[in-house]
Every structure is written in C-alpha cells, then in structure tokens.
Symmetry: C2
Subunit: 291 residues, 2 copies
C-alpha cells in the first residue's frame, strides 16, 4: 500500500510522541519535530507508510540517543495483558466457538498500537476486548482462515505489538506448536513486539520465535534478513497481524490472512471496512515476493 | 497563548483539508502539504496558533489560486443552521432560563469549526446542539456574564464561524441591538464568518457588523485595522466566541468573556476543561492591548 498525504500528520504526531517517551526536554522534542517536518517535506509517497515510519523512528533514536523509546509502554501492556489472560482464556473457552473467540481476542489486542492517533490506555484495551466478543465479524473469512490453518503444515505468524502478542496466545494455543513459527521485529520500532516481548508473553517457551531482521514496522521483505525471507517463501500460510503488516504485505502474492482492528481511516477505506471493525481478510496481492 | 508542538500535525491536516476543498488535483494537494511542512519546520512557536494558520492559509490561497477554499461549507452550514433556528428558538424560550439556553446554543454552535481534527457533519452539529441543553455549564460564570452584559453600554461580540453565527442570534436577540456590535473577519480564513455570512445569518439587518480588518483566525490585535482596535479599546465588554479568539486574546487585559466548545486537547488543558465541554470563562489576561 502506498502512503497518502493523510499519513503525514500522523508521522509528525508519532515523532512527537516518541520524543516525549524518551525525555521531558522540550528542546529535544522541538528538534525532533522540526527534523521530521523537513524529512517529510521530501518523502516519497510511493513507498508504504512503514518505510517512512522506519526512517523517522531511526532519526529519533539518533537525535535522542535512546535505542527504544517505547520500552516502558511495551512492558506495561505486556504485563496488563498477562494479568487479563487467565480470565480471557476462561471466557473464550466458554464460547460456542472457542476458535472464533480466540480470533476475536487476538484482533481486539491489536488496539494496543501506538502508531495511530487514538491514545492507548488500559481502559480502552479493556473496552476493545469486551466489545470484541459481540462485534460483527466476517464468518466466511473466519471459516476460510480456520480451513487454511488446518491444511497448512508450516505457518508464519507475524506478530504485531507488545501486549497484543500476549492476547495472540489464545489463538496460537489452538494451533499445533510444531507447525507455527512466531515472528517479531529485528529491532525496536514503535511499540512493535521484539524477542523480549515474546519472552515476556511466555511464547518462546513452547513455540519457535524468529525475527524479521528488520527494524521497520510491518514486514518490508526487501529490508528483512535472507533467513526470514526464506521462511516466508516456504511457509504454507502467513498470518499477518495489524495494520503495518497489511500496509507492507497487501500486494504480495502468498497465502496470507490479515487479522487486525481497523484504527486508521486510510487503511479502513483501503480494506473496505470502517474504523473500529474487526477484520479477517484473505490476501489478494499479485506481486511476486522474491527479493 | 503560544503554539505547542501538538499544534503542528493539525496545521498539516488543515492545509490538506483546505487544498481538497479547492481541487481534486492530488498534485496540488501534495505541493501544498510539502510547502506547509517546510514552512512549519521553521515556525516560531512563541506566536499563537492562529498566526501560523493565517500564514499557512495565505500560502494555500497562493498555491491553489482560490480566494476562499471554505466558501461552500460556510454556505452549507449557514443554511443548515438557519433551517434549525426556528425550532431552537422555541426550545430555548420554553427553558426556565432562556438566557442560559441561548448561551448554550451559541456555544454548541461552535462545533462548526473546520480548524480542529474532528470532522464537521450536520449530524454532529445536531448532536452537539441537542446535548448542549443538558450538559454541565458553570452557572457562576453564566451569571457573571449576564451581569457584565447588563452593565455594559458597548459590547463587541467577536463571532467565530459560519453556521455558528446563525446560532449566535438567540443570544444576540436578548441584548439590546443598540449596544452590541458584531465582529467578523476582514477576509476569508478557514470557515470563519465574514460579512457575507453575517448577512446570510440575517444579522446585518438589525445590528451593526464590522470586521477585524485581518484575515487571521481569532483576533490578532497587531494585525487588525486601526478602526477595529479603537472599537476594541473603547468597548465595555468583549464577547469572544471560539478557540482561535481565546488563543489570541487570553493574555489581553480587558473585560472579556470567552464562550466556546472545547475541541482541541491543548486548549482544553490550557483552560482547565475537558474536550467537549461548554465553556463560559471571564478573561484574566494582564497584557496591555495598546498596539
């Protein structure tokens, strides 16, 4: 997916937020914002928003000297999700269709995303989770996804954010551990999950976890490690969590299911959904992903 | 009020919106956004947000060749408000305190503001008006305002936006016409009311209407005409509608009441209110306004 002019205010807002996570020094905040404005004034709109976000967040790390501005909020939401997990597991198991319930929770967890405009709070996460049990979901896509999971021998599960990755566990636990590999980011970017978060979520104990080899949000295949791309090419099924993975993989020709909560109006429109919706959608990309 | 870094994404968003009102040509949209990003990268944060908005919107008029990008939406919301007015007048008259009801409607009308992030739709206006009859309001400030209006011999009523100026009529009609002068902008800026809108609202028929002599949002006294500043200096009471007037007059030492609906988190915080609140607040500025 290309970038739109609507994405530009979001890049500026994201930059300011990251700077504020690192320091209270308003002079540094100002330097970061002015720098991002200059960078954005020359940006290439034909690339996907995560390309620009990667560039900007690298620059923020340079300007602030902080390797991981979102470290604290990642830990906070991992812990918050872990606290909710036992109760959620019970609720999901009591549903008529625990599989669908697990998908709903995994998607609701995608609300823990510091990329889009809305503020992420524990209260908003709780509301999103509660609502997810009764919200509309495309049952045909859920069934197609279930069938694809059953048929696949190797599944690459592209995790999205810290905190969210804990909620993914209900769904991951319904798939035989030997056929799924969970993928996290190769380095800190926004509040995306890295290996540390997979560990804190308790996933590394019973499942293989690899990383993209890239510090971009989403999965920019041309920026990923050779090892990751090999795994991507040979997997029977890609489970793609979140908006940035959609932005970077929507055009790619592979068996992909996108699972996300629509939060940005540009992406929602691109997918044919409304902001707030729970989305399960089989990919229809046509681009070869050989890189 | 100074500008904050939080204002910067809003400037970019406003610019894109204005460009889209003028043309469907995405190349022009892109040129406008890139230009605004460059300008914003060098902005002086010590000035109030309306100074920057004035600068940006002038540039958009240059780049697009359109004198008044918001002309259509201004007319649309004038007409919409005119259609609602008879029914609102009846509802306000039936209230225990028609004066307070008129203030509530005038403030609710301030939702018709294309400056802040939230989309302005007729449905949102209707909801804001309906809610305004029962929302919390500071009754001490309402009484202080009423008392100040009664004591004043000359009142300058600084109107804010098109559409909103129609809703102001309920309040204006409760003040003897001979002691109030309504002020509109000297030239098109965002969806702020100009003389055309005061005419369409039916205000010029029974009240004196003057303009600021400036095409800035709000009231930047150093940018206003000598004639307007004289009126401002000699008025017993200034009634200031909307956020931009607060941003530009909050520091000024005069008898001012700010009437607005809080829409921007930065301004709400500055005033000690929450986003969505109805605000009536006596000014406490200490700066001399002699210019």
């Amino acid at each position: 997916m290309q970038s739109y002019l609507d994405c530009v205010p979001c890049f500026v807002r994201q930059a300011l937020q990251a700077a504020r996570f690192v320091t209270d020094d308003v002079e540094i905040h100002e330097r970061v914002v002015r720098d991002v404005l200059l960078t954005a004034s020359e940006m290439d709109l034909s690339t996907s928003p995560p390309v620009m976000a990667q560039h900007i967040q690298r620059r923020i790390r340079e300007l602030t000297g902080c390797r991981d501005p979102y470290r604290e909020v990642k830990q906070q939401f991992n812990q918050y999700a872990l606290d909710l997990l036992p109760d959620l597991r019970r609720r999901a198991e009591q549903c008529d269709d625990p599989w669908e319930a697990a998908i709903r929770v995994a998607i609701a967890g995608n609300i823990i995303d510091f990329g889009p405009a809305a503020e992420v709070t524990e209260a908003r996460v709780q509301t999103a989770i509660d609502e997810s049990f009764t919200m509309e979901i495309d049952r045909n896509q859920v069934e197609a996804f279930r069938s694809s999971v059953e048929q696949a021998s190797t599944i690459l599960y592209l995790a999205d954010n810290a905190g969210e990755i804990v909620f993914d566990r209900l769904l991951l636990e319904l798939i035989p551990a030997e056929k799924v590999v969970v993928v996290v980011k190769g380095g800190p970017i926004l509040n995306d999950a890295t290996r540390d978060d997979a560990e804190m979520a308790g996933i590394t104990e019973y499942m293989e976890v690899i990383d993209t080899g890239s510090d971009a949000p989403g999965t920019i295949l041309s920026d990923c490690s050779r090892e990751f791309v090999d795994r991507f090419q040979t997997a029977d099924l890609i489970v793609s969590k979140g908006q940035a993975n959609y932005e970077t993989l929507s055009d790619v020709d592979a068996e992909i299911f996108f699972l996300l909560k629509a939060k940005c109006p540009v992406i929602a429109r691109d997918m044919g959904y409304d902001v707030g919706d729970l989305v399960v959608m089989r990919g229809q990309g046509k681009q070869s992903f050989v890189v």
